[in-house]
Amino acid sequence: MEASHAISEAVKMIKPDVIAAYPITPQTHIVERLSEYVANGEIGAEYIRVESEFAAISACLGAEATGVRAYTSTSSQGLALMFEVLFIVSGMRLPIGMTVVNRALSAPINIWNDHQDSMSCRDSGWLQLYAETAQECFDLTVMQYKISENKDVLLPSMVGLDGFTLSHVYEPFFIPEQKEIDDFLPEYVPTHAILEPEQPLTLGPIGFPSHYMELRKTQVDAMEGSLKVIEKVFKEYSEKFPAQIKGTRPETYYHIEEYKMDDAQVAFVAIGSVCGSIKDVIDVLRSKGEKVGLVKIVTYRPFPMEALKKSLKNVKKIAVVEKALSPGANGPVFEEICSLLFEAKSDAEVRNFIVGLGGRDVKLDHIQKIFDMAKKGAGKKQEWMF
C-alpha cells in the first residue's frame, strides 16, 4: 500500500472522534481515504470538511478542548496557514495529532518534497517525529497519540513524511489487530482542559507579563520531559508489535536510528526518506573499507541532544544532509548539531549539505559526493547539491 494509506489506516485504528481537514497536494490521498472510511461507516469520526487549513486546525482545537481525540493533516502552504494556531494549540496544551506530508514552500510554487514547511514550525511547541518508510508512518501515527496524550506531556504532535517520495510510494507494511491497538492506545480521557457546563472552565485567557513566562516555562518543561515519555512509548510499542517485515523499521524505535555507526569515522546525519538512499551508499562504501555510518533523526522536537551526543562521540567528520534552510544562516539541523558538538567539546568537522529542495532528486551520486567532500573536510560550511 501507499505510505499515505499507512497513515489513513493508522488514523482509522486510533479512532479519532473528530477529523477536520482541508485538501492540499500531496496530503490528499490521506484525507480522501479517511472520507471513504467515514462514508462507508468504517470509522465513527465526525469529519468536518472545513474551508481552509486555518479552520482545520481551529476546529481540531475546539474539538480537543471539548474532550475528544482530534486529527488533521496538511502540507506546505497549508501548514504555513495554520502557523498562528499551532502556537495556540500547544500553549493550551491540547494533544492534537497531525500528519505533515512534507512539501516545499512557495515561491515559486512547488508541490514536491522538502522539509521547509515543518522545519519552519519547529519552535511552535509541537512534538515532531519523522518517518522514513510506510511502516514508520503507520507506527509513528499510532505512537504520536500515546505520547501526546500522556498526562506528563499534553502537547500536540506532528508526524512528517516526505511528499511523493514517500507518501505516494507503495511499500509493504504490517498492520496489527485493532484489539491490540485499542490495548495500546486507550480512549482519550482529558482532565486538564475540557469545556463542559458541569464544570465551567475558562480556556485561552489573556496572560499578562506577570504570568506569561511561568506559563511558557511549564510548556517548555513538558516538552523536555517528553523525551523520556517518547522513549518509553517507542520501547513499549516495539515490544508489543515486533518488526514483521525486514528493513521497514528499526527493531526498537528510538529518538535516533543508527546505521553502521559502531566504528564510524564519518557520519551522515539526515531525516526522512533520503536515509534509505544514504544506507545504500553506506553499504557500498563499507564494502570498500570506509568506516561510515548514518544517524537518522526520528525525534526532532524535542531535540534528542544526549542521544545524538552519544552517537556522534567518536566521529571525526559529519555531513548534515538537509532538505531545509534558514536563509542567512545554515540549515536548522546543522545549527543544532554544531551546538551539541560544542557542548560535547567535540573537534569533529561538520558540514552542511543542502539537498532535494522542491523535490529535486537526491541521487546516489550526490550522496557519494557528499561523502567524499565530508571525508576531505576542507571546503565551505554549506554546500548545495544541485
Binding site: D17, V18, A20, G44, A45, E46, I48, R49, V50, E51, S52, F54, A55, A56, S58, A59, C60, L61, G62, A63, E64, A65, T66, G67, V68, A70, E84, V85, I88, M92, L195, E196, P197, Q199, P200, L201, T202, L203, G204, P205, I206, G207, F208, H211, L215
Partner: protein
C-alpha cells in the same frame, strides 16, 4: 426578581475590566443569559476577551474558550462536532466576537461554518471599529466616521466606504435565522438572542453595542445612543427567518424617524461633520442612505420576501 423578562442568573460576573459605559459588556451579559447554563461559549480575540480573563481571574461562569482573532466560528464547529461525537444533546454552542473579527478577519470562517450548516449561534457585538487596538476602521465602520485609520482631515470626512451589509451576505448562505438588534432595545435584543439560540443550524445576531471610548461620547448615554441609532434609522431592527424579512415596528415607518443629526452630534467620531463647518454633502449622503436602506427592508418585509 427577573427584570424585563431577563433571567436572574448571572453568568458574566461583575468586576471585569471594561470601560465605564461599555455596552459591549452589557451585550455579552445578555448573550450569557440567553444561552443559559447548558452552553459553551467561544469568543474571538477582542475587548470582551481581554477585559474578562486576566489570568488567573475570569468573569465567565460558563465554559468559555478563546483561540484567536479570526477563528471562533471554526473552533465552535469543532466544539459542536465533539459534542456530536460524544453523543451529548441539549447543549448550546455560542460563538461571538466584535465587528473586526466578524465582518473582516473572521468572515471567511463564518462563511465556511454557515455553508456547512453548523449548529451554533454567532453573535457579533458590533461597535463599528477595532476598539481594542485603538479605534481603527473595520468593514462595519459607517461612512463618515473618523477613526484612527480613517481620520477626518482637510481632505477627508472620515471613512469613505459604507458599512458592509453582513446580514444579507449571511442570509445568502441559507441561514434559518438572522437578526439585527441593538442594546438600545433590550427586550427585543434578548428575544432575538433567545430565538437565534433556539433555532437549529447556523444562526446570527448582529447586536449593535455602543463604545463610549471609541465613539468619543458620554459614557452615561451608551444605552440612549444605541436606541437613538435605531430611532434615526441608522441601525434598522429586523429579522430574516427562513429567508423572509420581518422588520421591527421601530424601523418600519420612515415618517417617524428622527433626523440623523441628533444621533451623529452626540459622538466625537462624527464631530468633523458639524465643526468647524457643517458638511452638508456628507450629511445628506448619510440621510439618503438611511432612507434607501430602510425602504428596501420595509419593502422586502411587506412583500413577504
Amino acid at each position: 426578581m427577573a427584570i424585563m423578562g431577563f433571567p436572574e442568573e448571572e453568568y458574566f460576573a461583575c468586576g471585569h475590566r471594561a470601560c465605564a459605559g461599555c455596552a459591549c459588556a452589557t451585550a455579552v451579559r445578555w448573550i450569557t443569559k440567553a444561552a443559559g447554563k447548558d452552553s459553551i461559549l467561544v469568543e474571538s480575540t477582542g475587548c470582551m476577551e481581554v477585559i474578562s480573563t486576566p489570568y488567573p481571574e475570569t468573569a465567565w461562569k460558563l465554559p468559555w474558550i478563546h483561540g484567536a482573532f479570526e477563528n471562533s466560528s471554526a473552533i465552535a464547529s469543532g466544539v459542536a462536532a465533539a459534542l456530536r461525537a460524544k453523543g451529548v444533546e441539549g447543549k448550546k454552542v455560542v460563538a461571538f466576537g466584535g465587528d473586526g473579527s466578524t465582518y473582516d478577519i473572521g468572515f471567511g470562517h463564518i462563511s465556511g461554518a454557515f455553508e456547512r450548516g453548523e449548529n451554533f449561534t454567532y453573535v457579533c457585538y458590533d461597535n463599528e471599529a477595532y476598539m481594542n487596538t485603538g479605534i481603527q476602521r473595520s468593514g462595519a465602520t459607517p461612512f463618515g466616521a473618523s477613526t484612527t485609520t480613517s481620520p477626518a482631515g482637510k481632505e477627508s470626512a472620515g471613512k469613505i466606504e459604507w458599512k458592509k451589509d453582513l446580514m444579507h451576505i449571511l442570509a445568502a448562505h441559507g441561514s434559518p435565522y438572522l437578526a439585527s438588534a441593538s442594546v438600545g432595545y433590550p427586550q427585543d435584543a434578548f428575544r432575538k438572542l433567545k430565538k437565534a439560540m433556539e433555532t437549529p443550524g447556523p444562526t446570527f445576531v448582529n447586536l449593535f453595542a455602543s463604545c463610549p471610548t471609541g465613539w468619543r461620547m458620554d459614557p452615561s448615554k451608551s444605552i440612549e445612543i444605541a436606541k437613538l441609532a435605531v430611532d434615526t434609522g441608522s441601525i434598522p431592527l429586523y429579522e430574516i427567518i427562513e429567508g423572509k424579512h420581518f422588520i421591527n415596528p421601530q424601523s418600519s415607518d420612515l415618517s417617524k424617524l428622527k433626523p440623523v443629526d441628533e444621533y451623529l452630534k452626540m459622538q466625537g467620531r462624527y464631530s468633523h461633520l458639524f465643526k468647524p463647518v457643517r458638511r452638508e454633502k456628507e450629511l445628506a449622503m448619510i440621510q439618503e442612505r438611511i432612507t434607501q436602506n430602510l425602504q428596501r427592508i420595509i419593502d422586502l418585509s411587506a412583500k413577504g420576501f
